[in-house]
């Protein structure tokens, strides 16, 4: 059992919605047409210009939950978790029942229409193991993403998280999935969201 616990911190204050991460992901992992392991949504705009306008970009991917609902529902054990906490799909076992797609609350999974297998972000674990950042983080034009070992307090990702603990947010904590992708809420432009979660 490894002591490492891979995760990612994404600073929504820095994301400009350029989609470079989504393109980089497709290149690095050879992601098929019509399949997305990484998407960037625009949230808003709502409110009135100039002072009450709210809008931000939200990069979405597999949250590599500590307690993933996709693993529980998968009848074939194609979905599994590595010792480092990364949730992966064994393509040789998946039979495309799609229950994992239904059970994931984070819209992270896609059925590949060509291979008929469910796919998702792998946190570029092959790069992390070499001490490199996932290509989405490496490519990000604003440096809004940092990945690494959340179990090591000295790691860059843990330090970024510690410095911004007041803005740290795990999406839909009420489901109990405990995502390993932590978002840092925007300082401005997401007042309604912050109010709804008591920030």
């Amino acid at each position: 059992m490894s002591d490492k616990r891979y995760g990612m911190v994404i600073d929504l204050d820095k994301c400009t919605g350029c989609q470079a991460c989504a393109v980089a992901c497709k290149m690095e992992n050879d992601v098929d047409l019509g399949v997305f392991w990484e998407r960037v949504y625009r949230m808003g705009p709502i409110g009135e210009f100039p002072d009450k306008l709210e809008m931000f970009y939200f990069p979405n991917q597999c949250m590599h939950c500590e307690n993933p609902s996709c693993i529980d529902v998968c009848p074939t054990k194609a979905t599994y978790q590595t010792d480092e906490g990364v949730v992966l799909v064994d393509a040789s076992l998946c039979f495309g029942c799609q229950y994992c797609i239904w059970a994931c609350p984070y819209e992270a999974r896609t059925l590949n229409p060509h291979t008929k297998i469910v796919e998702k972000c792998i946190l570029c674990v092959h790069r992390l193991e070499k001490g490199e950042q996932p290509l989405c983080a490496y490519t990000c034009t604003t440096g809004c993403r940092v990945a690494g070992d959340l179990g090591d307090p000295e790691s860059q990702v843990s330090q970024v998280l510690a410095q911004n603990e007041d803005r740290a947010y795990r999406v839909h904590p009420e489901f109990g999935n405990k995502p390993s992708v932590v978002y840092l809420l925007p300082r401005k432009g997401a007042e309604t969201l912050c109010k709804s979660i008591g920030r």
Binding site: R39, G44, F58, P75, K77, L111, K116
Partner: protein
């Protein structure tokens, strides 16, 4: 959420078939129903086979079907594990009196098959109870899977009872009316709950795009079966035809209900307070 047609067919056949067997067994044990369990077992096996074939069409890689037994925590694996035992128990009941005579053990075989049928329905109901789909995040889902099976099962037994001996006890017709009425009441409660599930995915079943399924369910799942069953007390002409119509309509009502069930099962929105520029519904 999209309607997954193979699952509509398979879950409808399962509920109609398994509900019929459970109710026939209970009727046999409790009130000495003349409906032969071996005949019911064959009907159930045929319906299960149709449902099983349909569910294979849902799988994108059906050749890997046997991987389905790997995760006992998954309700789908539990369903897959129950299936061969259920099939064997139903086959044992079906062949009883044809190839061999189980004698007093017939009751035991029937009880085992009925228990496995109930277990199968519970596994299916639990498989659809999902936190990520607010409309499905309720014990109503399991209750409705069982109640729809009970409703179709009791009506089916009334039909077979009438076909067997031409008469059916009034109490059993009332049981069919009561189970259908309770089922419809729970379905109404489920539809009412869908209006306020939160997460930006509230569903008004009476409006588009849900309206056609809602109307189909009201007509076929509630109005026709109840009217046909109650008509037996008012105009007892051609009771077999009335009951067959009620049974078929009930089965179609379950299918229509399941379509509404799928259509209303939207995924939670990340941040419902904001409009999103990509379609999140899959």
């Amino acid at each position: 959420m999209q309607i997954h047609w193979p699952l509509i067919v398979s879950t409808t056949c399962q509920r109609v078939g398994l509900g019929l067997f459970i109710c026939a067994f209970l009727g046999f044990v409790c009130v000495g129903s003349p409906v032969g369990l071996s005949v019911v077992a064959w009907i159930t096996l045929v319906l299960l086979a149709v449902g099983g074939v349909a569910s294979v069409f849902h799988l994108q890689r059906p050749k890997r079907f046997f991987n389905a037994f790997k995760n006992p925590k998954s309700h789908l694996t539990q369903e897959a594990i129950v299936t061969p035992f259920l099939g064997a128990a139903l086959l044992a009941c079906g062949l009883d009196g044809v190839l061999y005579d189980l004698g007093e053990a017939s009751l035991l075989a029937g009880a085992v098959a009925a228990a496995l049928a109930a277990a199968f329905l519970v596994c299916t109901g639990l498989a659809y109870q999902m936190g990520s789909r607010p409309a499905w995040n309720t014990p109503f889902v399991l209750v409705l899977f069982l109640l729809t099976a009970l409703s179709a099962g009791t009506i089916g037994v009334v039909v077979l009872w009438l076909v067997s001996v031409g008469l059916v006890p009034v109490v059993f017709v009332w049981a069919a009316v009561a189970s259908t009425a309770v089922c419809v009441a729970c379905q109404i409660a489920y539809v009412a709950r869908m209006r306020s599930v939160g997460y930006g995915v509230n569903v008004e079943a009476t409006k588009e795009p849900y309206r056609p399924y809602f109307i189909a369910w009201v007509v076929m799942g509630a109005a026709v079966p109840l009217t046909m069953l109650l008509s037996l007390f008012i105009i007892p002409l051609a009771p077999v035809i009335s009951c067959v119509i009620a049974w078929l309509s009930c089965a179609c009502g379950i299918a229509a209900w399941t379509m509404l069930f799928f259509r209303g099962a939207h995924k939670v929105k990340m941040f419902p307070m904001y409009p999103v520029d990509l379609n999140l519904d899959m």
